[in-house]
Symmetry: C2
Subunit: 232 residues, 2 copies
DNA sequence: AAGTGGTCTAGACCACCAC
DNA sequence: TGGTGGTCTAGACCACTTT
């Protein structure tokens, strides 16, 4: 069970970077030098270097060489889904309303459209063990072929609803996370009587031409959600 | 300015996936078939497929073929740094305290250590335009070579402090985000007199052996921070 | 001119899978 | 057994950077 040559190259160089013998912006030995060092062909060395580049360890400049990359200390990956979180899972959702409106100035701006376009509004409540834990509002630009079927809406997440009418690969998404105090309407929906903070998550979905397709705002009870992310 | 052959392959297949003629779990044509289709050698075709794999469009199973991947609808990337956010930047930070303590049960558990180990505690306040907007507590497992220099601490972010004493590449990090109501101590520090929600961000940093190196909890005034993330 | 990385070829052998 | 992807070679030409 000996490893392929290119994997050995990857491990060796990762090791040198991790123990400090290769530091950020240092040059990695040239491809020809590595060919001799490992007695391998250049394509094999390049395979190893491409893995290191893919993993964010090095970058290459044509005509100059390959260099150790500055690590991205503040990059995190987060898997967000309004129906699931790391404390609880939504086990029931209730559809409050599906309507079609003309957007006001602010919403039209958010969706980069005009006030005379149709916008589908979906309001839902999410429950965990019978208790309402989140209030959810979605605004979708109405497009042909969009199936507004109540049953589907009740269970689907925001990207799922949007991707029903188009390929999901070309979607671009933005997430905005903040905290605020609930207003009266939300207090009513979520049965909040005391002081309690809300975690608010906004999702905005764009098509491949960077045109907004929809906006989704979810107001979570602060005591019922934690978002988790990690590096790698 | 004709593109390399492997780029044409990448673009063609991405296009087929985006317009739906190749759907998730569909098989991509075999490497030999693509060789004939593009009149290219197998290594060139493989280069194209490896780019598609790196970008998350396809995956390969030895002996079977390459297949279109199910898109990750809920994956986001977020760049978090306790000193910067999308509303404001911290333009001043004040060091409240640097002490060495023995952790209580809860903290010892969080740091996966015992109660007789030394833990460095750093408390800071972050300001924007003279106003306190965040209260920050860091707990670091004390290790040799850790430079506890007040001047450095005052300006450095959490990963920067940790990476001072070790290579930053092998660090693993976890982020936890939630909302809560401030207690009296935090209200005092942040000059909060009314009802106001806090956005709390916890960072936990592990070394390459998955041992926790430190914990950082930052309490932001809800009206002074929004975290942003996006797909891609 | 010499060295670097980027693209590409036409072969080869292997392990794995399905028939 | 034939097809698939995984690894690897020993060359080649190119554009770019450095000396």
């Amino acid at each position: 069970m000996t490893n392929p040559v290119y994997i050995r190259i990857v491990e060796d160089i990762k090791h040198k970077i991790n123990n400090g013998s290769l530091k950020p912006s240092d040059a990695v030995p040239s491809e020809n030098a590595l060919c001799k060092e490992y007695g391998a062909s250049r394509m094999t060395i390049r395979k190893g270097l491409s893995v290191l580049a893919k993993d964010g360890y090095i970058y290459s400049i044509p005509g100059k060489g390959s260099f150790v990359r500055m690590p991205e200390l503040n990059k995190y990956t987060i898997f967000y889904d309004e129906m699931k979180n790391s404390i609880n899972t939504v086990d029931q959702s209730r559809l409050l309303e599906v309507t079609i409106i003309m957007p006001d100035e602010k919403l039209a701006g958010e969706l980069q459209t005009t006030r005379n376009k149709n916008v589908v509004v979906i309001r839902r409540l999410f429950y965990t063990e019978g208790k309402p834990i989140a209030y959810d509002i979605k605004y979708l630009l109405y497009s042909k072929g969009m199936p507004i079927v109540e049953k589907e809406i009740e269970q689907a997440t925001f990207p799922e609803i949007i991707s029903g009418s188009m390929s999901a690969f070309s979607l671009k998404k933005e997430l905005t996370i903040y905290a605020q105090i609930p207003d009266k309407e939300i207090k009513n929906h979520l049965n909040i009587y005391d002081e309690l903070a809300l975690l608010v998550v906004e999702q905005k979905i764009y098509n491949e031409d960077n045109k907004p397709m929809g906006l989704c705002v979810t107001y979570f009870r602060g005591d019922y959600i934690k978002l988790k992310g990690n590096s790698e």
